[in-house]
Amino acid sequence: MSTTPWRGTIIFVGGIAAIAATAATRFAGVEGAVAPALAGSGAAAANTSTSGTGSTGAGSSTSTGTSSSSSASSTGSSSPAATPAGKPAAKTGTVTVVGSTAQTPYGPVQLSVTFNGSKISNVQALQYPNWHGYSVQLNQYAIPQLNQEAVAASSANINGVSGATFTSQAYAQSLQSAIDQHG
């Protein structure tokens, strides 16, 4: 088990409403740390189905998950050939989360967040709706959501993972795979 703190630059543009947590992450490099948390989050009516598509057919399996309990048939990548990426060396640096104008239910919001490591040093609402209470709400919302605890807490309920296209083999080593098996 290891943690992978993110201490680099992330450019974020968008509405804060869209993001539950960003930057400064944790997370374990092993399924054991993730799976138990995920196991508890499955909904009874979940139908999970996983299928491989691809020209080589490597690791592809067809499945339909239809029972009332969640059934996931993951692709069977036969070999655990893909090795997890090495544990990244933590680097210190300033994390900059730059926001541009985004439309929210409250109106256009522009947000700029700067922080060092996982510690937020500055949150500024550059533009916010003409509702004087909102800047306070914005700050209260943004700061807790951007810290490590928030990320860790929400991880238990992750439903899916977006990432660069993985191969059928790499899928076996992915967080999405862990979710499919335990969702």
């Binding site: 992978t4 201490r7 680099g8 992330i10 450019i11 974020f12 543009v13 968008g14 509405g15 869209a18 993001i19 539950a20 960003t22 930057a23 992450t25 944790r26 997370f27 374990a28 490099g29 092993v30 399924e31 979940a46 139908n47 999970t48 189905s49 996983t50 299928s51 491989g52 598509t53 691809g54 020209s55 080589t56 690791g59 592809s60 339909t64 996931a72 997890p84 990426a85 090495g86 990244p88 933590a90 541009s100 985004a102 990320v151 929400s154 992750i158 439903n159 899916g160 993972v161 977006s162 990432g163 660069a164 296209t165 993985f166 191969t167 059928s168 899928y171 992915s174 967080l175 999405q176």
Partner: protein, 233 residues
């Protein structure tokens, strides 16, 4: 190659859900057959070899090429299905487009709450549980089991393009360079066809691509420059 598609449907009727899932996977398989660069007999391979004239192209191929052409124009040539080597590579369009189509089919079949993940490109509809948004993590570029951010999505799409899984598969159409300026780019948009093309373009465009994508249909953009990528060991 090949990738994996996961669909999480929350639906009370397992028979209906099963039929809808079968149809969704059929859409994806058909797209794979038509657009696979690894199948010598795919329409894409035949087009790439110059064996097809314009009026022989399928409706799907025309649609995909039209999406690509619009992206090329919108990005001043950064996005281009023509590779620096002179081939045609529709991968920057097809996966998002096909997955969005599969998702549209699920909606048409009456599925209200589902999360479709096609190899890292996600379409979210409805909610996993009442009052709760789908939690879509963005993968850490340096670690397949780590999370960089968690996005809350109800009706929307999340696409990520990055160099960490498949190497230099993205290029700048203007220069032909495969030395892209970002490690990964994630785009949230209402539609996955849009999100996928934008993510690929932002990856090739660099930090300036984030505001550019916001002006071209993105709801949010998350871009990671390489200088701070933790060393892979």
């Amino acid at each position: 190659m090949g990738t994996v598609v996961s669909i999480d449907v929350r639906h009370a009727d397992p028979v209906a859900a099963s039929a809808a899932l079968d149809a969704a996977f059929a859409v994806l398989r058909a797209a794979d057959e038509r657009f696979s660069p690894f199948r010598p007999d795919s329409e894409l391979s035949r087009l790439d070899r110059g064996e097809l004239s314009d009026d022989e192209l399928s409706e799907d191929m025309r649609t995909v090429l039209a999406v690509a052409e619009r992206a090329r124009a919108d990005s001043d040539g950064v996005f281009d299905v023509r590779t620096p080597e002179g081939r045609i590579d529709t991968n920057g369009v097809v996966k998002g487009w096909a997955a969005q189509r599969a998702a549209d089919g699920l909606v048409a079949a009456g599925m209200v709450d589902f999360l479709l993940n096609a190899g890292g490109d996600v379409v979210a509809r409805g909610e996993p549980e009442p009052g709760q948004a789908w939690q879509v993590a963005v993968r850490h570029p340096g670690d397949p089991m780590a999370v960089l951010a968690v996005l809350e999505v109800r009706d929307g799409a999340v696409a990520t393009s990055g160099t960490y899984e498949r190497g230099a598969h993205v290029w700048d159409g203007r220069t032909g360079s495969r030395d892209v300026p970002l490690v990964s780019a994630t785009v949230v948009a209402p539609d996955l066809t849009v999100a996928d093309v934008l993510a690929t373009t932002v990856l090739a465009m660099g930090p300036d691509g984030a505001p550019w994508a916001m002006a071209h249909g993105a709801t949010a953009v998350l871009a990671v420059p390489p200088e701070d990528l933790p060393a892979a060991g």
